[in-house]
Symmetry: C2
Subunit: 218 residues, 2 copies
C-alpha cells in the first residue's frame, strides 16, 4: 500500500520505518522538500522510502498519517491540500501539547474541542480516524515491548475507515480485539485529554514502555 | 477510625456503607442537617452511621473524604471549615463535570488547574490526596467486580497521607501494589482529565464495571 506521512518527527519516522519493513511504500512529508531528517531517513530506507513536501506525501498516499504536533496539524494539512486528502483514510496521531516557559504542559485545544474534530470539520471529505496518540512511537509499531494484553483506541465518523486502520494495525502486531472503538470523532477529545496523565505515568515509571489495558467485567 | 464524608451522593453513600461495614464510624455530611438522603442512609446504617452538616462531618472525621461534585467542592469545604480540616488527610474524589444543555460534558477547572490543586491551595493545612476519581463508586469499594489486576492512582504533596490512604484502600480490597503514586497534587490535573475518556469507555461498553490496568515492561 502507498502511505503518506505528514511530519518527520520521531512518530513519523518510526511509523515510516515499520511500514517500509512491512513492504509498504512510504513518502515522508515535510514543510520543505529538503528537510534534513527526511532526507537522512530516505537514504537508509531503501527504494520504498521517499520524501517530499506535505502535499507530495498526501498526494502519494492511499492512506495518510498525520504525525505532526497537534498545535500545527491544521496548518500542515492545509499545506497538504484538501483535494489530496479527499476520500482517503486520514489517521490523526497528534496531541496538541503546549509547553510553558516554566516547563508545565497543557493542551490546546482541549475540553470542548480536539485536534481530531478540528481536522474532520476543516476537511469534511477526509475519512479521519483518531488513533495511536495514547502511547509511545516504539510501542505503536511493536506492542510486544509491553507484556500482556493492552489496548489501542480509535474514534471516527467513518466506520469503514476504522476497519481499514484496524487491519493496518494488525500488521503492526495489534490483534483486532485489542482495538477499542470509542465511536465518532468527538471521542478524540477524551483520547487527547489522556496525555497529561500519560506524562505523569512516564515520570512515575521512568520509561515510555507502558500502555493502558482496560479491564472489564466479563 | 472516625471518617467524615462531605457529600451524600452515590459516591458518598457507597463509601459510607463500606466503611461502616468494615467497622469504622462515619458521619455523612450534607449542606443541611436534615438532608433526606443522609437521614435515610443513617437509619439503615446502624449505630456507627451518623449524619450532620459538612462542618459536623469534617469535625468528626480523623480522615475526611470529599465526595461532592467537583464544581461545588470548594464551597462545600468552606462550609466544612478550614480549622476542622487542618492536619487531616483529606481525600478528594471529585470530578468537575459540567453538563451543557445539549448533553455535552466538559470539565471546569481543566488543563492548567484542577479541583485537587485548588483544594490544597485554599486549605494548605489539610493533607490533600487526590484518589478514587477514576472509577465507579461500586468498584471503589469492591475491586473484585472487575477481574484481574487493575489500578488506582494517588496524587498529593504529603507522602504520609498517601500511605495512610493506601492502608484504608487495602481494607476495601486494593493491594498496595495496585495503587500507583503519581507524585504531588499537581498530578490531580491528569487524573481529572481522564473523566471524558472514562465516559466514552462507559458508552462503548454499556457498563461502569471497568477500570484501567497499566501494563509496563518488566
Amino acid at each position: 500500500m502507498r502511505i503518506g506521512i505528514i511530519g518527520t518527527g520521531t512518530v513519523g519516522r518510526t511509523l515510516a520505518d515499520k511500514l517500509v519493513a512491512l513492504g509498504h511504500e512510504v513518502t515522508l512529508g515535510s514543510r520543505t522538500k529538503d528537510n534534513p531528517k527526511a532526507v537522512a531517513w530516505a537514504e537508509q530506507a531503501g527504494p520504498n522510502g521517499h520524501t517530499g513536501t506535505f502535499a507530495d506525501a498526501a498526494g502519494f498516499g492511499e492512506v495518510v498519517l498525520n504525525a505532526t504536533a497537534g498545535t500545527v496539524s491544521l496548518e500542515a494539512l492545509r499545506a497538504a491540500g484538501a483535494e489530496r486528502l479527499a476520500g482517503k483514510v486520514l489517521v490523526d496521531i497528534s496531541n496538541p501539547l503546549v509547553f510553558s516557559a516554566e516547563g508545565a504542559v497543557s493542551l490546546d485545544p482541549v475540553n470542548t474541542d480536539s485536534v481530531g474534530e478540528r481536522i474532520q470539520r476543516e476537511f469534511p471529505d477526509a475519512r479521519v480516524v483518531k488513533a495511536l496518540n495514547t502511547l509511545s512511537a516504539p510501542l505503536m509499531v511493536d506492542p510486544g515491548r509491553v507484556p500482556g494484553e493492552h489496548n489501542l483506541f480509535v474514534a471516527g465518523d467513518d466506520a469503514a475507515a476504522k476497519t481499514e486502520l484496524v487491519s493496518l494495525l494488525g500488521e503492526f502486531g495489534w490483534p483486532a480485539e485489542a482495538v477499542i472503538d470509542l465511536g465518532g470523532i468527538a471521542a478524540a477529545r477524551g483520547m487527547e485529554m489522556l496525555m497529561p496523565f500519560w506524562l505523569q505515568l512516564m515520570r512515575a515509571f521512568g520509561t515510555t514502555d507502558f500502555n493502558y489495558s482496560i479491564k472489564r467485567a466479563e
